[in-house]
Symmetry: C2
Subunit: 208 residues, 2 copies
């Protein structure tokens, strides 16, 4: 079984939503080996780097991340690629529909995987795309930008998914993930009442 | 397949090494839904809560956590219980030796699972216990205290394991994990040059 790591490294250069410097992770070395041990402190926005959004992030009364069973964070995934568009619409996803019947996660590789993830005009999933994916009987949707939408009024993409307890995975590093079927894993930290969590996301190859 | 979560929740009450308040996680809500979205910032000691130690934590020139393949963070595990001792010695582990031949991880449940994890005199793994486990051909050792030793001079327990690239998992919540064989998973965040990482650790039941 091959494993493809689809996580962004966490350091001072981690890309953030629209390049916002305030959202960059801070990693301080608090002790060194000469003092007894290398130790560090991590300050991390829950929505920075590779992470998962809980419904509570965008939905009134939505579930927090600690309330989901670990089973929600793994399963069969289809990686699909949509290039050369600014927003991924239902029409771009329809051609893959027959591949979605067994999928528990749908991960979308876009031009974000080939450009600077700090850009403000990143590729996003439109409301029509989200409404379509929400009908596919899945646990989660992932994308290769730091946001699944660009602060659209009312956040219709987030709400179409999170409003149905479909998890949203953002900041996936899909450049080395060829389109196809995999087993996806991305478990959150057990953050009490968390609106989201950083995750280590990866794909396992599956034998057909 | 049953899943047993063996992670401590992260919040203001998370126990810390010897109850050190400075090591408690800080979780601030930075935005609320009325401002557009619930968002938060997490400040976390790499060695607080359920976490993994990289060799770099205690070994000169040791590997950092980002340099380990994800395969190092899962595999067959034996949960063993040693009660009524202050330090787990080789002599306490020898009776389990025949169960260790296929194990990739050995997780030790002690009185820590039944008492306050903030205590200064927590149960730890002695040097003799660590040297013995280091001979079992494993990927990692886990324990139910926030430290695998109590700041012993020269950190012989950590060094016996980390010096051989055997990972150390601390802060495991083993109270609901009956002794026996499981499949263990606990993947770190991809922290560049990290001396350790918080993890979501869990056990999967296996059919014999």
């Amino acid at each position: 079984m091959a494993i493809i790591d689809i996580s962004l490294p966490l350091d001072a250069d981690t890309p953030t939503y629209k390049g916002n410097a305030k959202r960059r992770p801070k990693i301080e070395r608090t002790r060194t080996l000469s003092e007894g041990a290398n130790e560090s402190r991590i300050t991390l926005d829950a929505h920075t780097g590779t992470h998962v959004d809980a419904p509570f992030h965008m939905v009134e009364g939505g579930k927090t991340i600690d309330l989901f069973s670990l089973r929600y964070f793994h399963g069969l995934a289809e990686v699909v690629e949509v290039r050369g568009v600014e927003a991924v619409e239902e029409s771009h996803l329809l051609p893959f529909k027959n591949r979605f019947s067994e999928a528990e996660f749908i991960l979308i590789r876009t031009d974000n995987s080939y450009t600077d993830r700090n850009r403000e005009d990143f590729i996003y999933l439109s409301q029509s795309g989200a409404e379509f994916l929400a009908q596919q009987g899945i646990k989660g949707v992932g994308i290769d930008s730091l946001g699944i939408e660009r602060n659209q009024p009312g956040h219709p993409t987030h709400r179409a998914l999170l409003g149905r307890d479909i998890l949203v995975f953002e900041g996936l590093a899909l450049e080395h993930a060829m389109p196809g079927r995999y087993f996806f894993r991305a478990y959150p930290l057990l953050i009490r009442e968390g609106d989201g969590s950083p995750v280590r996301a990866f794909l396992e190859s599956i034998t057909p």
